[in-house]
Amino acid sequence: MPDPTRERGPDALSHTRRLAGLIIPVLLALAWEAVVRAGLASGRLMPPPSRLFLTAAALLRDGELQTHTLATLTRVLIGFGIGGALGTMIGMLTGASPLARRLLDPSIQGLRSVPSLAWVPIFILWMGIFETSKIALIAVGVFFPVYLGMLTAIQSVDRKLIEVGRVFGLSPLGIALRITWPAVMPTWVASLRSGLGLGFMFLVAAELMGASEGLGYLLVDGQQMGRADTILVAMITFALLGKAADSVLVLLTRPLLRWQDTARIRL
């Protein structure tokens, strides 16, 4: 007798499983739509899906949603680039050199204990309320997880593999490039992903503090105009954007991690 699961193959199966996650949100949305249509609720504070679609379509037609998304994405990318690069480089430095670690790590750990949003006032004072302070805030959010990930990853590289490099005649630079770097790659990628997540969090904080464009601005605008639908559309766009950015990061780094046995990263 043919096995139905085998016939459909593993891909089809996991596809069906993934779709299972949609059942509850879709049912809830339909139920809410029905409740509002039946006149049981006004849907003013919690607009039904149909209204959200209309709002999103209108925002898209004006090009407003695109403008705000682009502004937000640009900030995140620049902030992520700066924070990620600094975190990687300084983490490499403190991971590789005990002297640098003794000198720098305590200060960095101290700065890390400053609650993230406590940076906002001083950044605004230093850099004004425009782009620079927002990007700086995002960079701070990205920096710490990447720094920490890099530092711990370098320190936990298997000494035995380093010895293999030494026995087969690699220079210290050769060991860094051919042993340490590939060995820290998985942790580094994981820390970039959590850095990206934190970057989005800080971005919202920055945009809530005052911005003339960006999805965060759309949130504030919706609140002031009493437009729950605008707020929800912005929130959904944030979710999609965050997920998309994470997926792109995973796709870009996937070739570096192909060798990994466990914890293979899935989209």
């Binding site: 035995k160 010895e163 293999v164 026995v167 087969f168 005649g169 690699l170 790659m185 060798w259 046995d261």
Partner: protein
């Protein structure tokens, strides 16, 4: 390549004396087995010869050159395969031949993979290989540069007896083709008698040479031959003596009921 370990001692920074006054020589192309239990400093000795550590006293020479750092004439196989997990099997073998031209490296890798029974495995990841296969790749990686001396640090101890016997034959075949001097560290009497021209028995705390003996049987050696058994017994008695000097009435054959004598 002739290996001379001349009155070598090693004391670690924490004050532990791992080796004292160790004297071992291996002629060019000879297989010398260093035999002893844990704590004999066997692995320390190999680390010194490979140049990973420096002796506290005495000197180690390869031909006439004193070793003080890692050097290209050594090939090493460790207790675990220690393949680099991010390199494919073929690239792992090539990793050992970094001084060769790329073309020569590829040619020798192909030949060695074929030789160790893993032809066509070059594009696989190490994780897809069994423990025995990985250890064979490690042997190929150590031999690709045609080292003057091959260091083996209990490379077969984690393998099952069937796989181990196959690896022994493989190592001897490769040795016959390339003739490196081999220094193998082991705690397995059978392995030492099967492989070595000479056996150096060590005793612990601190690691010292207890006794050295030659194994004069021609190769290939038959594990089932009476002479092989006799040789094993000679070695066991020597181990016995090394133990009874420190702690009387322990070890093989120390009592009359021992099944070994």
């Amino acid at each position: 390549m002739k290996l001379t370990i001349n009155r070598v001692g090693k004391t670690y920074a924490d004050g532990t004396e791992a080796l004292r006054d160790v004297q071992v020589t291996a002629d060019s192309g000879e297989i010398v087995a260093v035999l002893g239990g844990s704590g004999c400093g066997k692995t320390t000795l190999l680390r010194l010869v490979s140049g990973l550590d420096e002796p506290s006293s005495g000197e180690i020479r390869l031909d006439d050159q004193v070793i003080s750092r890692t050097h290209p004439s050594v090939g090493a196989v460790f207790q675990e395969p220690r393949l680099l997990p991010w390199l494919k099997v073929g690239d792992n073998v090539e990793f050992g031949g970094r001084r060769l031209t790329p073309a020569e490296r590829r040619r020798r890798t192909e030949a060695l993979l074929e030789r160790i029974g893993l032809a066509g495995y070059g594009a696989r990841w190490p994780r897809d290989l069994s423990g025995g296969q990985q250890q064979r790749v490690a042997i190929a990686r150590a031999l690709i540069g045609h080292p003057g001396i091959l260091l083996l640090d209990e490379p077969f101890s984690a393998l099952d007896p069937f796989t181990r016997a196959t690896q022994h034959t493989l190592v001897l075949d490769l040795w016959r083709e390339m003739r490196p001097t081999i220094l193998i560290v082991t705690h397995d009497v059978d392995e030492a008698v099967f492989l070595a021209d000479r056996i150096v028995i060590m005793k612990p705390r601190p690691g010292r040479v207890h006794e050295a003996m030659s194994v004069d049987h021609p190769r290939p050696r038959d594990r089932l031959a009476p002479a092989f058994d006799l040789m094993k017994r000679r070695v066991m008695r020597a181990i016995d003596r090394s133990l009874s000097e420190d702690r009387p009435r322990e070890g093989f054959g120390a009592s009359n009921q021992s099944p070994w004598v």
